[in-house]
């Protein structure tokens, strides 16, 4: 697969931006600036980066509780995100949703999800909508290994399959659902094998490798766009931090953590690009600097933004 240089640099920018955003979120949470609970995507950035690279602005994604990376990759605005996390009126959801509930319909981001797995049948509906409206929009639905055990995984994918809807189901298998490992929650090695139950392709991909994800999802997107139906893609990945900010994650074996840290998706991609001579170290530094600046501005925006007024609690229940 050959990918244009500009595209590769875009992907690199995306993965860096996600990483730097999440690192800052983690800091701001620790500093007490972000209330509630926050799940960061550090370690898993290659998945959103590689997958969403195939989408047009009018395509859809369905995200999860660990959703910042998806939104950034789809073109979400860091300042509106950060403001939302800070519970400010200028945030994506007017400060009403917080980390687990950001949506941006303008760029086809249909929402994060506080209830694990809830997005799966909704994504099927987005696919149905594209079909019924006669567009060739596709939908990528992200969810975790934990979510792959919930009933709606089954119902949602089955429906997408029998109707051959343009939906790509991307399981981000980071081996853990909070403290429960996949080894005790699935009796199979690969979530991808569950595609058999719906007569759709099931593909396993290295979720630490942007290029691998890019390639696998590319095929699935092509398939979906031409009306051949859904694909189930499983990206093997790992979350580098606790389940939520504040979770020490002591249930995970240290060797396992180290093994995965050694396969940092950002490092891997950087090395690949440098080796391919698509990126210089200097460029990498610049991109990093830009990302840090963007994040800093987002934090500044968030900090300077006003809180909503208490009475705004009462708005936005009904259209």
């Amino acid at each position: 697969m050959t990918v244009a240089k500009e595209k590769l640099l875009d992907l690199y920018r995306t993965i860096v931006r996600i990483r730097r955003f999440e690192e800052r979120v983690s800091e701001e949470f620790a500093a007490g600036n972000i209330p509630g609970s926050v799940h960061v995507y550090i370690g898993e950035e290659a998945v959103a980066t590689g997958a969403i690279a195939h989408l047009r602005k009018d395509d859809y994604i369905m995200s999860t509780h660990r959703g910042h990376g998806h939104l950034i990759a789809k073109g979400g605005k860091m300042n509106l995100m950060m403001a939302e996390l800070f519970a400010k009126k200028t945030g994506y959801c007017l400060g009403k949703g917080g980390s687990m509930h950001i949506a941006d319909l303008d760029i086809g981001m249909l929402g994060a999800a506080g209830i694990v797995g809830s997005g799966i049948p909704i994504a099927t509906g987005a696919g149905l909508s594209a079909r019924m409206r006669g567009t060739d929009q596709v939908t990528i639905c992200f969810f975790g290994d934990g979510a792959s055990n919930i009933g709606r995984f089954h119902e949602g994918i089955n429906l997408a399959s029998v109707w051959k809807l343009p939906v790509i189901f991307v399981c981000e298998n980071n081996l853990w659902a909070v403290s429960v490992p996949t080894s005790t929650s699935l009796a199979i090695q690969d979530v991808a094998d569950r595609g058999v139950a719906y007569g759709i392709p099931g593909v396993v991909v290295d979720g630490q490798d942007v290029m691998a994800v890019y390639e696998a999802v590319g095929e699935a997107v092509t398939r979906a766009r031409k009306g051949a139906g859904p694909t189930l893609i499983e990206a093997k990945t790992y979350r580098y931090r606790g389940h939520f900010e504040g979770d020490a994650g002591t249930y995970r074996p240290q060797e396992e953590i180290e093994k995965w840290l050694a396969r940092d998706p950002l490092n891997i991609f950087q090395e690949q690009l440098i080796k391919m001579k698509m990126l210089t170290e200097k460029q990498a530094e610049e991109i990093d600097k830009e990302a840090l600046e963007e994040v800093a501005k987002a934090v500044q925006f968030a900090k300077e933004s006003p809180f909503p007024k208490p009475e705004e609690t009462l708005d936005n229940v009904y259209a």
């Binding site: 959801c93 949703g97 099927t124 909508s129 594209a130 019924m132 009933g151 429906l159």
Partner: protein, 327 residues
């Protein structure tokens, strides 16, 4: 004027709205060739085909989840859930998704989604096919709930539901769906706004708030009490319980000084309790007597004619309650 029954009202409302707005479509089990459990939407599959009248696999969460996905991206699904009891399977879609999305996302999304479902007892279908769950659905801000008591209202309210930009639950009482009772309806188009109660019978002595199948029973009781005792009941039918037209009820109680809320629900957690609570606050000064609620007992719905008839509130239960506050 022409007369139609409840089932026809339903079929006409859906057919007219599909004709009017190409974004409207149907999703659910047995909606296609079968045309619904009682053929109530028969003909639509022939007219629109399987793309717009979509038979689904048996998977209620997928039905409602998919309906949500279409609703937030430009379509107007009618999700036919059959028995409201089955919605437990897809409760999260109602509780945490469709009713909360708009709010959580800061008002930047709308979810124009109509669900219809059979409700109520009277068909001897026992505990899992006979419930009146409006009191449970009422606990979810973001959901509108329609509970029509006759064919005329059903048609006008269902059309309003389909045009509403919010999730709406439209409950069809089985005794109305299977009963042959007809209403006069206009030939042309009409809609009925949400949040407007209708006084089904004017009266001066006791206000009776009744819903769905209980409205006819209240009217029967009113006739009887009028003739036997010269007692004058005012029967108020809220028609939509969310939004609830409390003003009409308060005005009525102001006139009568007495309130009985008559609904087919288990007493605990009922819409009836909600009405009583509102009047005990905002209408307290009008009250000359305790507020009575006539509901079903706090048990699952039993099977069989004898037990179910005992379970369901009826004219006698209502009259007994009225007697208690009018002696």
């Amino acid at each position: 004027m022409r007369e139609i029954n409840f089932r026809q009202a339903l079929g006409e409302a859906i057919a007219e709205e599909m004709e009017r707005d190409p974004a409207v479509f149907i999703i659910g089990e047995d909606v296609g060739k079968m045309g619904g459990l009682m053929g109530e939407i028969g003909g639509l599959y022939d007219k629109y085909g399987p793309e717009k009248v979509r038979d689904t696999p048996l998977s209620e969460a997928a039905i409602l989840g998919a309906a949500i996905g279409t609703a937030i991206t430009g379509l107007r699904p009618i999700a036919r859930m059959r028995f409201c009891d089955f919605m437990g399977i897809a409760w999260d879609e109602v509780l945490n998704q469709m009713t909360k999305m708009r709010y959580m996302f800061g008002g930047k999304i709308k979810v124009p989604l109509t669900m219809d479902a059979l409700s109520g007892a009277g068909r001897r279908t026992a505990a899992q096919h006979s419930q009146s769950l409006e009191g449970m659905f009422m606990c979810m801000p973001g959901l509108k709930i329609v509970l029509p008591s006759n064919a005329h209202d059903a048609k006008g309210l269902l059309k309003t539901a389909i045009r509403d930009d919010n999730p709406v639950l439209f409950l069809e009482h089985k005794l109305l769906m299977w009963g042959g009772l007809k209403s006069e309806v206009p030939d042309g188009e009409y809609t009925i706004p949400f949040g407007q109660a209708e006084i089904k019978r004017e009266g001066s002595d006791v206000t009776v708030v009744a819903t769905a199948a209980m409205v006819q029973r209240a009217l029967n009781a009113a006739e009887k009490l009028q003739q036997e005792k010269g007692l004058s009941l005012e029967i108020v039918d809220p028609r939509t319980i969310v939004p609830f037209d409390k003003q009409t009820v308060l005005n009525s109680v102001k006139k009568t000084g007495r309130l009985v809320v008559f609904t087919e629900e288990c007493a605990t957690g009922s819409f009836a309790g909600q009405v009583a609570a509102i009047v005990a606050d905002e209408g307290f000064d009008y009250l000359d007597a305790p507020i009575k609620r006539v509901n079903a007992p706090d048990t699952p719905v039993p099977y069989g004619i004898i037990l179910e008839d005992f379970w369901m509130p009826d004219e006698n239960n209502l009259i007994k309650a009225i007697n208690e506050i009018t002696v």
